[in-house]
Amino acid sequence: MRSSFPKLPSLATTLLLCLAGSASASSDFGCSSEWKVDAEQPSLCNNWPFLSPANDSRVNIRLLLDVVTELPLSEKLAQGDEPLAPLVPFDLYALHAAEAETAAPRDHAAELDALLAPLDLNTGDLALQVFAEDEGTRCRSNDLPSANAFIAAMAQDGLPLDARRILARQRMSLLLTCGPGEGSALETAELAEAPEAAPFLRYLKAAEAFYQGDLAEATDGFASLHDSPQPWLRETSRYLSGRVLLNVAQEGALDEYGYLEPQQVDASRADAAVEALQAYLIEYPEGQYFASARGLLRKLHWLKLDHQALAAEFVWQWQQPAQRRNRSFRQLIDEFDDKLLFSIPSDQAQDPLLLGVLDLMALRRPWDERERLPRERFEQQKRFFMEQPGLYRYLDAAHQFYGEQNPAAALAILPARPQSGPLGTLAFSEQTLRGLALERLGQREQAREHWRALLDLSRDGLQREQSQLALAMNLERSERLAEVFAADSPIDSQPIRLQLLRYVAGPALLREELRRSGGKAREALLYALLYKDLLRGHYADFVSDSAAFGPLPADSSLAVFAWSGDTRGAYSCPDLQQLAKQLAAEPENAGARLCLGDWVRTNDLRYSPLAERPAGDELGGSAELFPGQGFSRLQAYQAVIASPDAAAQDRAYALYRAVYCFAPGGNNDCDAQEIAPEQRKEWFHQLKREYPQSHWAQSLKYYW
């Protein structure tokens, strides 16, 4: 979301992405991968393990966390099992999935049952409120763990069994309360016999008022327990008093559509809430609500628009183990991105991590609507990087490289390549930028040596993958493709090798690698070989290759090459083997070419991943070494239409199909030619005029 439209969370559509199809979609989202390292446009789909302006801001936050607190990205991210999708760049969600923090699930209902057993109660068909992640409501804490804690506290206190039973029942019925008028009236009469129960009852009444939204009553109720001799009541009421104050402070600050009106925040109550929560944190540094209370401080700073304090809270959070935080790192990163990054005025940012993310965003092009960061404003930030001078130096070089488009100046700033590794994220970023600068300066050989060396210095799978990608692109563009596949090649990444084989390699290399491969890789290579054999005009090779490398299983992508033709339709075609033999003998045969068109059409090969070439600045985007002109359906039809020798049924069918290339929306679905509507109309009339009795003339009603 922090890419094209920073202020609007990824609006509506990725229509263009969808239209373009995706050569290597790894999820429903249809990510379209950019196989390169030198990138300046952000997208969710493409992120690199170095500090790049093209990274989603959340990825750069994550990388900067490694820079400032040494927290390498999860190795799981480098262990993809999709051979046609790159490991670098990776999509944001892959990072999230790799780093999902999963706490061992606890069976709170079973725990509750254990607590209820001595009271002759059980959970029965207990109904609970269901909330999604991030669904904001104070009722979230009205849950089983809270109920369990209450019932456990009563047990410790030696309350009479009858009173405990009544109170436990009350606590359970409170579980569904969330909003005015909800919940059941507390039965208090029966408790008169047990005065020890009074404080617990007061707590329940205050909690009910809190969840119902009666904050005044909740305030008084919890305050009356602040000095309770019962430790759980004392601690819990002190914590909850802070939460009540927070709720009071924001009451009325969110409009009916949930939009924050900062001027409606009750600042003095917000201050009081901060004070109350901080007092709790001091009194209970190991308290059971520590993580929650500390987390609520962020909410209060956000309500008060106190960006500095909010930034400082994040700095604190980054340094904590999981049990001291109220959210996972992934959630904290999202929150940082959503609640701080886009709201803090740029002259207020002082934290190096925050400045780093903002500075990198300012170097994006060409979409970003933010002001570019002028040189003098960047230099003024230097004082905030006293503890991170290396990061400042990197940002300085990035400013030259991306901002000023001056790779030579960037090179002059960047440190020399270290002699030994492994490299942390900052050093790896520096050396990546050095390599990119050499490439942009046209120093291809030095760049090549640099990428080779960087590969040896890489710390982890992601860094290695990126170094291999850079090296492979360099070799590809230096016409040294064979070196990628040489026995001593350091490039062992399957996705990178497959990309080059599928889009660049000639037939000999393709066959050689095919002999050495297995599984999904072999399937992809065989698909590429047979596809190009047929559609680049090597028909005899198709016959021999499919015999040598077959079979072509029906449940694989290779099934298209086992096409059985069409003997029942109005235009008859032999199976693909026969067709290829026919074409090998007679490449210009009208009927055979029309049938090849039918094979392409009925198998949707216009949308085959191989039908589109990678962009010129991506891996696999250099000139293709597989010889031959690509087959175009429309050109085949045009040739038959233009051939006076063609049989009547062939010409009629060619006219029909040529017209149909433009159904139903007027777009050319057969190739990239621009054909004027008059020409399409003429084909339509020619069919009607010359072959009026043909099946094809009679079944064509429109042209487009």
Binding site: S4, F5, K7, L8, P9, S10, L11, A12, T13, T14, L15, L16, L17, C18, L19, G21, S27, D28, F29, G30, Y93, A94, H96, A97, A100, T102, Q129, V130, F131, A132, E133, D134, E135, G136, T137, C178, G179, L254, D255, E256, Y257, G258, Y259, R330, P366, W367, Y607, P664, G665, G666, N667, D669
Partner: protein, 232 residues
């Protein structure tokens, strides 16, 4: 740069189209981060963004992130909108959606149902249709199901695959914009939209461009417009 290119493309067609004035409409999308505007008081129908289903979860399965306002009394009838970035939904998601519907209803609102916003290319429409059928089966009868649709759906695949989803869907809202802008050659696609045989609305973007072809508004299935509000 890119912005300029869009504008240039829009010129010839823009001459006959009129800017979209939210004040002329009664149905709106309210997305996260978009400041509520006074025009909302005239809303008959509100499409409220309530969350996003991302492949964040365990083993990359879907996880629902709530967004948008918490339940409270609103005057308009409501569709609760969820953006989906994956169709791989673990079992807990539907109960989470329904719990939120219930919370809005407890505040006295008329909740029509749930709208799914999923950007899917034409080629994967059939799979999406299967997903929606299953989702429909898990929703109670009083919870409607709406989806957003893309203008180009059907332009190169099965033209009217949506018409076969009439039993699954209560409506489809076809978006005529991308990002903050109307799609320049939207006119090209609209005749096909008019062939829809299930209740449909047209999604416009505030300040975008729109000119209704006659056959569209006269379709018995046309249910009006929804305007995507933007921050100024």
């Amino acid at each position: 740069m890119k912005r300029l290119a869009w504008l240039l493309l829009m010129v010839p067609w823009g001459l006959c189209a009129a800017p979209v004035d939210a004040g002329d409409h009664q149905a709106f999308w309210l997305w996260a981060g978009v400041k509520p505007q006074p025009v909302l008081t005239q809303a008959h129908t509100l499409y409220l963004l309530q969350g996003q289903i991302d492949p964040h979860g365990i083993e990359g399965r879907g996880r629902l992130h709530a967004q948008g306002p918490a339940a409270g009394p609103l005057r308009a009838e409501l569709w609760l909108v969820y953006r989906a970035h994956t169709l791989d939904w673990p079992d807990e998601i539907v109960p989470q959606l329904l719990a939120r519907v219930e919370r809005w209803r407890r505040h006295g609102n008329q909740v029509r149902g749930i709208q799914i916003d999923f950007d899917v290319g034409t080629r994967h429409l059939a799979r999406y249709a299967g997903f929606l059928e299953q989702l429909r089966q898990r929703l109670p009868a009083d919870c409607g199901l709406s989806i957003t649709g893309l203008l180009d759906w059907g332009s190169n695949g099965d033209p009217l695959v949506l018409n076969r989803m009439g039993e699954t869907l209560d409506e489809v809202v076809v978006q005529t914009y991308q990002g903050r802008h109307s799609i320049p050659d939207q006119q090209r696609y609209l005749p096909r939209v008019a062939q829809l045989r299930l209740p449909f609305r047209i999604g416009l973007v505030q300040g975008g461009q729109w000119q209704a072809p006659k056959e569209l508004e006269s379709s018995p299935w046309f249910r009006g417009y929804v305007v995507f509000l933007l921050n100024p």
